[in-house]
């Protein structure tokens, strides 16, 4: 059973179709990168997975169950979510941000504390110097690391990334991509990653799904993507070639 499956998922706002008939599945442990230009529907596809929005027609299955049949709070708490600028709560310390989902889930204090320490260690920001800080006291890269730690907190099987490294400088971005690959090797989570950066997609994906004007233009491995004859794929490959 795939971890996530889109079955002819369509999303409309009024008469405008944002995402058209998307059929696609993500195997357990895989990294699906949704690649596309701005407005291609990639973030919409991502938000269908954790029920932030519901398909206008078709369905999206998470662990075999349609998102419409899930208890949304349960669904979202079992999926980690990392967004650009991290979406950390500015009035919470790093420790409270990271321990948020476990505390919503009613874990005992001591267990949350241990978990937070372990996660901060894992993302390279030791608790003794970072746990008590507020998000504004961190650099952009550090905030993204905390965002990743927060998404991992309750040990979700699936992680969603919405252009998480989009606002970072190229060096920090490179660092965090490497970190992503290391964490993937260690944790073996299913990930869905939205980006418009073809280089990032080639580096991180096990499967690339290219969206163009709300429709799936291509789906396959990075190697297949490189060989693709699709016109939109070519447009992206040109960028890669001339980078």
């Amino acid at each position: 059973m795939p971890a996530v499956e889109f079955r002819q998922a369509t999303f409309r706002i009024g008469t405008r179709t944002i995402l058209k008939d998307l059929t696609l599945s993500v195997d357990e442990g895989a990294t699906l990168v949704l690649l596309g230009r701005s407005g291609s529907g990639k973030t919409t596809a991502l938000r269908l997975i954790n029920g932030m929005i519901m398909p206008s027609s078709g369905e999206v299955l998470v662990e075999g169950q349609a998102t419409t049949a899930w208890d949304l709070v349960r669904l979202r708490r079992s999926i980690g979510y990392v967004i650009q600028e991290s979406g950390l709560f500015p009035h919470f310390t790093v420790a409270r941000n990271v321990g948020l989902v476990p505390s919503l889930e009613g874990w005992p204090e001591a267990k949350i504390e241990t978990r937070v320490e372990e996660l901060l260690q894992r993302v390279g920001l030791p608790a003794e110097s970072f746990a008590a800080r507020l998000p504004r006291e961190l650099s952009g890269g550090q905030r993204q690391r905390i965002g990743v730690a927060r998404a991992l907190a309750a040990d979700p099987k699936i992680l969603l990334f919405d252009e998480p490294f989009g606002a970072l400088d190229p060096v920090t971005r490179f660092d965090l991509q490497r970190e992503f690959l290391r964490l993937r090797a260690e944790l073996k989570k299913t990930s869905v990653f939205v980006t418009h950066d073809v280089q990032e997609a080639m580096k991180l994906a096990t499967t690339i799904a290219l969206l163009h004007e709300g429709a799936l233009a291509f789906a396959g491995t990075p190697a297949e993507f490189r060989a693709s004859q699709n016109e939109e794929a070519h447009a992206f490959l040109d960028v890669l070639e001339h980078a």
Partner: protein, 209 residues
């Protein structure tokens, strides 16, 4: 002789100050108990928001002495005395608190609210843990404006027999007695400054950015 007069003034002053504080605190508490929940509810509904702010706005535009006068003949809620004054003061205090509550809630960064939803927080949890704490400085700022104006407006309440520091002022005006006017005006001004400073401190304490 003079010390006797001052002693009398002081005794009466303390009593009037007490009455004044009761008028202000009761009005602000009632206004907050109405305006903050209403503000929270209407913040996410543009149409009721406009309506609620419109109503609060109208309340604000009625001249205070006229409002006190209008309330006197109304059965049950009106009449002479403290409760009529409190109703009028509540009507005045509603707008700043309501407007700031709405502004505060709407001012929460959409990305923060979005990630709260995505982490599986319920509506109530988002309100309690994210929206209210983040809106708190703005809401307190509304309470501060409301309190400072209420301290001043409450002096007019003496005109309808509600007591408070306005008693000195009205009596001083009637008898052309500057000392009496000052005995009412100075403590009232100090009270307003004190409330402003205290709530300003609280506002800064709640600000995290």
């Amino acid at each position: 002789m003079l010390s006797d007069i001052l002693q009398d003034l002081l005794d009466e002053g303390l009593q009037l100050l007490g009455e004044h504080l009761v008028l202000v605190l009761t009005s602000i508490l009632i206004a907050a108990a109405i305006a903050i929940p209403v503000g929270i509810v209407v913040a996410s509904h543009p149409r009721t928001r406009t309506l609620a702010l419109g109503i609060a706005n109208i309340g604000q535009t009625i001249p205070s002495l006229a409002l006190f006068g209008f309330l006197i003949p109304i059965p049950f809620i009106g009449g002479i005395g403290q409760h009529t004054a409190i109703i009028a003061l509540v009507i005045y205090a509603l707008l700043p608190i309501l407007r700031n509550t709405v502004t505060g809630i709407l001012g929460v960064d959409p990305a923060v609210r979005d990630s709260a939803v995505a982490m599986g927080m319920t509506r109530a949890q988002i309100l309690r843990m994210v929206e209210l704490p983040m809106a708190a400085p703005t809401i307190i700022s509304g309470l501060r404006i409301a309190t400072v104006t209420t301290v001043g407006t409450a002096t007019i309440a003496a005109a309808i027999g509600a007591g408070g520091l306005g008693v000195f002022i009205f009596r001083g005006i009637a008898s052309v007695d500057k000392l009496q006017i000052l005995a009412g005006a100075v403590p009232s001004a100090l009270l307003a400054l004190g409330a402003d400073a205290a709530l300003g401190w609280l506002e800064r304490r709640c600000t995290v950015r």
